[in-house]
Chain length 415, copies 2
């Protein structure tokens, strides 16, 4: 089939669905506040479920509130080819993060109906509970339970700041299903694709509409405390100081250098830093800060871990301070299934859409689902790389292009 | 006169006076809270004034509340040889900061009475209003008015957080005197000496009881704002970042390097630093911090100023951020009168007290008085270099040694 005769989704319909869903929890500055398992989330879920039923899909809800909507295939023994994302948002979230992946999946189903195409394998569009982790932790809860990262009972017992549990919140909004988490009618998915805004600046900087996501960076987060001694800035000569701020500053620079040594995928960030006593003429006696390391291989993360310990200890000795490093978060790197990555790349090529291979720097539901099924992701650019912000924005032509790639990739596995 | 026959102060009496004065405003942890122009300050002033009168001194109060207590000399035309310091404290202050200098001066008068010595020149012991600047700014207010740095009307109009003015607070505690500030009966002082704890670690580290203070470092303080762009720590590659934290960290290191380049007197400190938004997985878009530069010469401070601008601008360009530098404080360096510094050095030598030349890193009343009269200072060690803290401590033998040096230095100018 040549490029002109490939089936295409309806970009205007997809855009209108994105705008309609964004009206639920809309904020004055153009964003969306639809936090997981709130009344707004219920309204959003109800709307998407209604659309799925109107498209003739069979909707099921599992015990952690993940929703699966199935379009039957011609082969009763075939495993489903799936897609999905999430519809919960950050408190100051945008219209596209998560929502784009879910509604692109729905648009694929609607398009196949329009064209009268019946696939061999069934198709599923899922939305996963509490990806954002704003009200309840851990983040990516629904896909994490699906993947066996934690069990459903643990997840349902998690409580918000008011003591309300996930289980009770699911029941309150009518989304505590009976289906055991992780149980799909025909066994596990044959493949899973997730379309998502990039949430970063790479595609926009490259001027490309499609990112072929080869995997997701692993993450290791640390809390660091540097302890020196408070002293007067005036009467204390440099040689007699135990300056926690100076040592911490050199450590921040070392974090950046260690990340550069792991180019192109190494990333190192100090996002949080607190000085004590934080008075302009007192040499700081204590600095607490965070380190966020990311890399595409566990070997790379291990190298960064070792390099950080060596660098920080050397800096501390030279500055006459103590340093304490505690690891607080660990997500392993994820390499997506080559056949799914290839399907995304071939879909973009077949559609004549310029694209590049990229990695995801952030976590996504797809990273958990990848533990249970061959998985790929499709990125589209977002304006200025901004996400988790009411200013989050994307172009209609990029949204349409991403959904068309999703359609082709799913068809490649479901035909 | 050989060392054995030099007059000596009464160390036990001086120590007892220090402890008696420290009982007014005593804190549970062994410190003192006697903030300027409070009821506690009134009680402290009244006690010291009573002691002065009991020692036969003539007490006067000027229009900003500075107190002068005079012991007459034999030459009615001679200008006074003066000493002094302050008795107000920080909210969590210690027993020695300021108090030592005032009571060492009083002990000099008491000793001369004991020994029946009448000097040619009159002697004065002063305590200056509001050295600490805790309740009212500017700091070193009384000596600043005396020296003409600001006028008495300006100082009296300064208000605390409750809107109470210095003038009203002086009247309330009975220390708003009639004598114009800066007016001394016989004209200006012939010389002024101030004994003080070091408030730093140099003498303790050197194991010496006496510091001969040759001058005080000038100070230039700055507020700095680094502006980058907030972005997700995961999806944003290093090359596309505008990381305000990384740039600020390199600037902190540059402040230290610039100070090292001005050894031995250059000092550079970042005591305050605030990160925005200060979230562990967000690349910081803004960092605000302070810079405190000190040096013994204005040329040196000028070099530090220029080196900072060059360094910060280079770092900002390399990191893709903006930097804004505002100077907020300037105290000029002070070089004490060579004849007074020599008198202190000779006094220590004559007494057989090991000593070294030092500079003051902090401001003192003596720095202002030095604008009106030949001035010198005597430092004694304080435990661990700690001051402005309830843990502030000093050894009786060091306090006694410092007062003996003060006695000899004053006699050298007053005989």
């Amino acid at each position: 089939m040549d490029q002109l005769h490939l089936p295409r989704i309806n970009g205007a319909r997809l855009w209108q669905s994105l705008m309609d869903l964004a009206a639920i929890g809309a904020t004055p500055r153009g964003g969306v506040c639809r936090i997981a398992l709130t009344e707004a989330d219920r309204q959003g879920r109800d709307l998407v479920v209604r659309w799925c039923r109107e498209a003739g899909l069979d909707v099921r809800v599992d015990e952690i509130g993940n929703v699966f909507a199935r379009r039957a295939g011609s082969d009763p023994h075939a495993r489903a080819v799936a897609t999905g994302s999430h519809i919960d948002t950050q408190p100051s979230g945008g219209k596209f993060d998560g929502n784009f992946g879910v509604l692109a999946g729905l648009e694929v189903m609607r398009t196949l109906d329009d064209l009268g195409i019946v696939t061999r394998a069934p198709l599923e569009v899922a939305f996963w509970t509490n990806e954002e982790g704003t009200r309840f932790t851990p983040v990516m809860m629904g896909s994490g339970v699906f993947a066996g990262e934690f069990d459903a009972a643990f997840a349902r017992a998690q409580a918000d700041v008011d003591g309300v549990s996930v289980g009770d919140a699911l029941a309150a909004i009518g989304y505590r299903g009976a289906q055991p988490a992780g149980e799909v009618p025909d066994g596990m998915f044959a493949a899973y694709f997730e379309a998502h805004i990039e949430q970063g600046p790479v595609l926009e900087a490259a001027g490309l509409p499609i990112g072929v996501v080869s995997g997701a960076l692993g993450q290791q987060w640390y809390d660091v405390t540097v302890t020196g001694m408070d002293a007067h800035a005036g009467p204390t000569p440099l040689a007699l100081r135990h300056d926690a701020m100076l040592a911490a500053a050199r450590m921040v620079d070392a974090v950046n250098r260690i990340a550069h040594d792991e180019a192109p995928h190494g990333r190192g960030t100090v996002g949080y830093l607190q000085v004590t006593p934080n008075s302009r003429n007192v040499i700081p006696g204590r600095v607490d800060f965070s380190v966020d390391f990311r890399n595409l291989s566990q070997d790379g993360l291990d190298r960064m871990h070792a390099a950080m310990h060596a660098a920080f200890e050397g800096i501390a000795v030279a500055a006459g301070v103590e340093v304490d490093i505690r690891q607080v978060v660990k997500f392993e790197p994820c390499v997506f299934a080559p056949e799914c990555v290839d399907s995304v790349r071939r879909a973009a090529s077949a559609l004549g859409l310029p694209h590049m291979d990229v990695v995801s720097g952030a976590g996504h539901d797809a990273v958990y689902v990848a533990r249970r099924a061959p998985t790929g992701m499709i990125f589209v650019p977002c304006k200025d790389g901004i996400s988790h912000n009411e200013l989050e924005d994307a172009l209609p032509e990029h949204v349409e292009a991403g959904a068309n790639v999703l359609l082709q990739a799913m068809l490649a596995h479901a035909r």
